[in-house]
């Protein structure tokens, strides 16, 4: 459970798609003139990422990874016994991932059109655009290169990355709506100032970087912590000693 929460916040704030990796910048810049359209595109990105990342996770686990084909002759748990142990199809991942994404986008479009025409009308124009949004392919490629372990985590990763992207585009759209009334130097108007504002927002988001170090082993302890930690260590040591004593005692009794 803890790893889910950690991944969730990490993907939204620390590894934000837009501010840390510049993914999906094209649509981020092109569709951020009004908040309402930005919300539409952001929602579509959350939706498609949540669907495609877990799907591509299964592709990666059962087809692409070295030795992943072992399930064919029933050796999923012991891949080294399989005839397919040496097969490494990972060079095909780009083409399979992008094919999955393009197909899923088409499929989602058809389903949404059929069952929820109002949602289709609000997302309609954006859905086909999303197939070529780098954030979507980027999500799948990062999922692969970071070796996310379970399907649940992959789902979580897709969903929370989508939320991070949504936050970014809604924030910049709101700022751009306001900045229309300010006196920006003429050559910077439009694109230039948007770049610089995004840069400043990215600096702001960098401050989230320290948010999750508390739980990791690499955390640098603050000044007050050491005494507490020492006490913790002492108590754990005492507990361990007690535990071993009881074990020894019980073994002796036998």
């Amino acid at each position: 459970m803890l790893e889910h929460i950690e991944l969730f916040f990490k993907s939204i704030f620390v590894d934000n798609m837009v501010f840390a990796y510049f993914l999906g910048m094209c649509s981020y810049l092109a569709v951020s003139k009004k908040v309402s359209t930005a919300v539409g595109l952001g929602a579509a990105v959350i939706f498609v990422l949540t669907v495609t990342v877990p799907l591509n996770w299964f592709l990666d686990q059962y087809i692409l990874q070295p030795g992943a084909l072992a399930w064919i002759d029933g050796n999923r748990d012991t891949p080294e016994l399989s005839v397919y142990a040496d097969y490494d199809l990972s060079f095909l991942s780009f083409i399979l991932f992008i094919a999955t994404i393009a197909t899923m986008v088409q499929l989602v479009e058809i389903i949404v059109e059929k069952f929820s025409p109002s949602l289709y009308n609000s997302l309609g124009i954006f859905l086909p655009l999303i197939a070529v949004n780098c954030a979507i392919l980027g999500g799948s490629l990062f999922m692969q290169s970071r070796e996310i372990e379970t399907a649940g985590l992959a789902l979580n990763y897709g969903f929370s990355s989508g939320i991070g992207w949504f936050l970014a585009i809604v924030a910049i759209a709101a700022i751009r709506e306001k900045i229309r009334y300010s006196n920006v130097p003429a050559p910077l108007r439009g694109l230039g100032i948007t770049f610089i504002i995004t840069g400043l927002m990215a600096i702001g988001f960098m401050s989230f970087g320290g948010m999750l170090t508390g739980s990791g082993d690499s955390a640098t302890p603050s000044v007050e912590e050491p005494t507490e930690k020492l006490e913790e260590q002492q108590t754990t040591i005492e507990k361990e000693v007690e535990a071993t004593q009881t074990v020894v005692v019980s073994e002796l009794k036998k």
Binding site: F22, L29, F91, I95, I98, F142, G199, A202
Partner: protein, 215 residues
């Protein structure tokens, strides 16, 4: 350019300045910014995009009359993905550490908007030779911006170019560092890529007033 007619030469020249894919058309920023912390990956990225866009434009242009327009996006994606796989495998074979450094961003050339944009806007309506020139021109325009950003970020951020210490040694205090110069570590971090591109746009548009946007 004796080889090219005036019209063809324009195809290459225009995207370099007045119709630059990054600063004017706002395409292809996605994979461009993250890898510009140093000059070397920037150049590798630029060369990869020149290869993919040049060849891809020719392939799409040759097939333009037989692709049904309904499925053209998928056909285009498959063509780009194939070319990108070639680039990725070549990099993995001959420059493994560099390909690790570029990580997912080589793969992201597939969804680079410049490529889809040029396929849609040019290759689907023009012959192979002109499409080839258009592809090379646009990829060069993209590469130029990448190299400018990479140059400044590496020079100001770590005081090196291609990993060679051009400003002296920051630890032993030689060269510029002897008179109190310090590296600006901030240039290496991602946000500065955006700000450097913003400044490039600023400079370009104050030179050419015609490019200024209405609010």
């Amino acid at each position: 350019m004796g080889l090219l007619s005036k019209k063809d030469a324009k195809l290459i020249k225009d995207p370099l300045l007045d119709d630059n894919p990054i600063t004017i058309q706002v395409l292809g920023i996605c994979s461009a910014l993250a890898i510009t912390a140093q000059l070397k990956p920037s150049i590798v990225m630029a060369v990869s995009v020149i290869f993919v866009l040049g060849i891809g434009n020719v392939v799409i242009s040759l097939m333009r009359n037989i692709i049904p327009s309904k499925i053209r996006i998928i056909v285009q994606l498959i063509v780009v993905a194939t070319l990108v796989i070639i680039v990725d495998q070549v990099l993995k074979a001959f420059a493994y550490s560099l390909s690790k450094e570029l990580s997912v961003f080589i793969g992201l050339i597939i969804t680079n908007c410049i490529i889809m944009g040029r396929f849609e806007a040019f290759a689907l309506g023009n012959g192979p030779w002109r499409s080839f020139l258009d592809g090379i021109g646009n990829a060069l325009g993209y590469g130029v911006i990448l190299i400018i950003v990479g140059f400044f970020r590496e020079l100001l951020g770590s005081g090196t170019l291609f990993g060679i210490k051009v400003l002296g040694d920051s630890v032993e205090k030689t060269g510029l560092y002897a008179i109190g110069y310090e590296n600006n570590g901030f240039m290496v971090l991602p946000p500065m890529a955006l700000i450097v591109v913003g400044i490039i746009i600023w400079v370009q548009r104050s030179k050419n007033k015609a490019l200024i946007e209405e609010n």
